[in-house]
């Protein structure tokens, strides 16, 4: 089990980009982390992996896995521990594989880091089978540029699975892919999650993908989580006005409305986040209390939580 407690990611000598984010991921469940670009969701995932770029650092909070603190461990230190591990799949399958190494070398390398004593080659083939890559023997000998985007992303997943992770972090893994390939990769992730009893943190800006895939959803805005809920209650009755606005932006197949709703204004930049509720300048429900001071947590009957003074759908409040 992965427990993330109130982590803060800051620019060195600069503003906070992630401002106190907490969540947990149980084995076999998919948590969808949703937010616009720049909301801090990618930086949250890199912080979990210990892969923050040099200009950023994890300035507060803790990350524990199976009760052990991994907050400040580098990736190579984590993989060598005995307890649960994390692995990550990145957004850009085109650039995330080393262009001059064959696929086999890149997977076997990851296998050997995890268990140095085994013969890496059969295990690598097994991993490629797990991610349903056809003609494994041929693909093992290929270079990344000889593979399609979808295939490369499968290879990335195979590499991630090499350390038998307890939690897989997937940062917009399908954004760069064609729609049909997207569906295949999403299906694969769901399937692996069930089969391996693996937790998944799925990061996306696309609520539609979350609705299909996730068990639980965390909505992120301007570096904070604004709503946490199981997927069904969330889509039935969102509490936070930002979640509501995001849903209104989804294309609705049942209406003929050609005009898609948009949220007015734009998300604040780190360092320029307004006091009070960060969404208040763009929120149609904002009133005086929203503009300053701490924001209370509203709770719904199905265990939903939302950081809001004046939540939507009052009927489902606990």
């Amino acid at each position: 089990m992965l427990n993330v407690d109130n982590i803060v990611v800051s620019v060195r000598n600069g503003p906070d980009i992630v401002r106190g984010v907490s969540f947990r991921i149980e084995p076999g469940e998919i948590l969808g982390l949703v937010g616009e670009s720049g909301s801090g969701k990618s930086m949250t995932s890199l912080a979990l992996m210990g892969l923050l770029p040099p200009a950023l650092h994890l300035s507060a909070g803790s990350i524990t896995q199976d009760g052990a603190d991994v907050t400040h461990l580098a990736p190579h230190e984590r993989v060598r521990r005995k307890c649960g591990k994390m692995a990550m799949v990145f957004q850009e399958p085109m650039t995330s594989l080393n262009p001059v190494l064959r696929i086999a070398e890149q997977i076997e390398e990851a296998v050997r880091v995890h268990d140095p004593d085994t013969d890496a080659s059969p295990r690598a083939r097994e991993l490629l089978d797990m991610v349903r890559i056809p003609d494994t023997a041929h693909q093992m000998r290929s270079f990344p540029h000889e593979l399609s985007g979808g295939m490369r992303q499968r290879v990335m997943i195979a590499i991630a699975l090499a350390c038998r992770p307890q939690v897989l972090i997937a940062d917009e893994p399908t954004t760069a892919l064609d729609v049909t390939v997207q569906l295949q990769v999403l299906g694969l992730i769901r399937d692996l999650c069930n089969r391996l009893d693996m937790g998944v943190l799925f990061i996306t800006h696309d609520l539609g993908v979350v609705a299909q895939l996730a068990d639980r959803v965390a909505v992120m805005y301007a570096g904070s989580l604004v709503e946490n809920a199981d997927v069904e209650p969330l889509f039935r009755a969102p509490l936070h006005p930002y979640t509501g606005a995001l849903m209104a932006c989804l294309p609705n197949p049942e209406s003929d409305d050609a005009v898609m709703a948009t949220i007015s204004g734009s998300a604040p930049r780190p360092g320029a986040i307004p006091p009070g509720c960060p969404f208040s300048p763009r929120c149609s429900r904002a009133q005086q209390p929203c503009l300053s001071g701490p924001v209370p947590c509203a709770r719904g009957v199905a265990g939903q939580t939302a950081m809001c003074h004046f939540p939507l759908n009052e009927s489902v409040l606990a």
Binding site: V79, L97, N98, P99, E109, V113, H114, M156
Partner: protein, 315 residues
């Protein structure tokens, strides 16, 4: 690959033809009659007529060029006026020194530039990096002949560890131990070029370190030094190795100054002396040969680069 090879070779040949026209034309750009310039004002009409005829200067320019280029293709670069021997002979005599000097210099450049560049990149932003980058910039700002003179002053005249000038062939008495004559010159010549390779290595390492696939490698849990060796260095060196080629070609001409300082019997010193002696066929010949060398090395580097980088097969 085959088509790329043809296209690249074709471009090199066109460049060579253009360069050869410039080299050929250069003798006609010199103000005054080149024959008188070469022979001096005291030349007799017979001498002038003989040289004019031998150099084919009576023909129209186009014909002259065709004859000159045709001869060059067959390995005949004309006759040295000063030595009265074929230019190819003059070049051959300097070639051993020049090639050995460039090769030893290249060894220093690689031994110093690459590892120090890697160190600088790994320690990016620390005082080590700043110090090494400053050193590189300083080395790039130093005239090679000045370094050479100081090396002579300290290690030849002062300590007497190395000879200060000249270079007997390694095929003569002394054999390979004659290479000690080239130690100081090669160090002087290496200084600014090693600085360039150092900076290139550092920049290339830092560029690759920002690549997504390096993040992937770190995410796998590979130890940092292995990430550097296997993922960053390997890709970064692709760019650095291609610079070795240019550097080697450039050394042949940069050695002009170094060979003069150390009185080495190389091609570079021959050029300088030929300029002072107005021995134009030799100057033309040397420039043509070095341009050829530059183009061939460039071509080879380009092609080997393509071979080393698996991405290119698709093109």
């Amino acid at each position: 690959m085959g088509r790329y090879f043809l296209r690249r070779t074709g471009a090199a040949i066109i460049t060579l033809i253009a360069a050869s026209i410039i080299i050929f034309g250069f003798i006609h750009l010199i103000p005054g009659d080149p024959i008188y310039v070469m022979l001096g004002d005291g030349a007799t009409p017979e001498q002038v007529a003989l040289l004019r005829n031998r150099m084919g200067l009576d023909e129209p320019l186009v014909v002259q060029y065709m004859i000159w280029a045709g001869n060059a293709l067959q390995g005949d670069l004309g006759q040295s006026i000063f030595f009265d021997t074929p230019v190819t002979q003059v070049i051959k005599e300097g070639a051993e020194t020049s090639i050995l000097l460039a090769t030893i210099t290249m060894v220093w450049i690689i031994l110093f530039g690459v590892p120090v560049g890697i160190l600088s990149a790994i320690r990016q932003g620390t005082w080590i990096d700043q110090g090494l980058s400053g050193l590189a910039m300083l080395l790039a700002s130093v005239p090679t002949f000045w370094v050479g003179l100081y090396l002579i002053l300290i290690f030849a005249a002062g300590l007497g560890w190395f000879p200060s000038s000249g270079f007997p062939s390694i095929f003569e008495e002394g054999g390979l131990s004659n290479l000690r004559y080239l130690i100081l010159p090669s160090l002087a010549l290496a200084a600014p070029n090693a600085a360039l390779i150092l900076r290139l290595t550092r920049a290339s390492m830092l560029d690759v370190a920002r690549e997504d696939y390096v993040r992937t490698a770190r995410a796998k849990g590979i130890r940092p030094y292995r990430v550097v060796l296997r993922h960053i260095l390997r890709n970064a060196l692709l760019a650095v190795v291609s610079a070795f080629g240019f550097t080697f070609a450039a050394l042949i001409s940069e050695a002009v100054v170094t060979e003069t300082v150390f009185a080495l019997p190389g091609i570079g010193r021959t050029v300088v002396q030929s300029i002072l002696r107005r021995d134009y066929p030799v100057i033309q010949g040397v420039i043509l040969v070095t341009v050829c060398l530059y183009l061939v090395i460039n071509l080879l580097v380009d092609l080997s680069y393509r071979l080393l980088d698996p991405r290119v097969e698709l093109e």
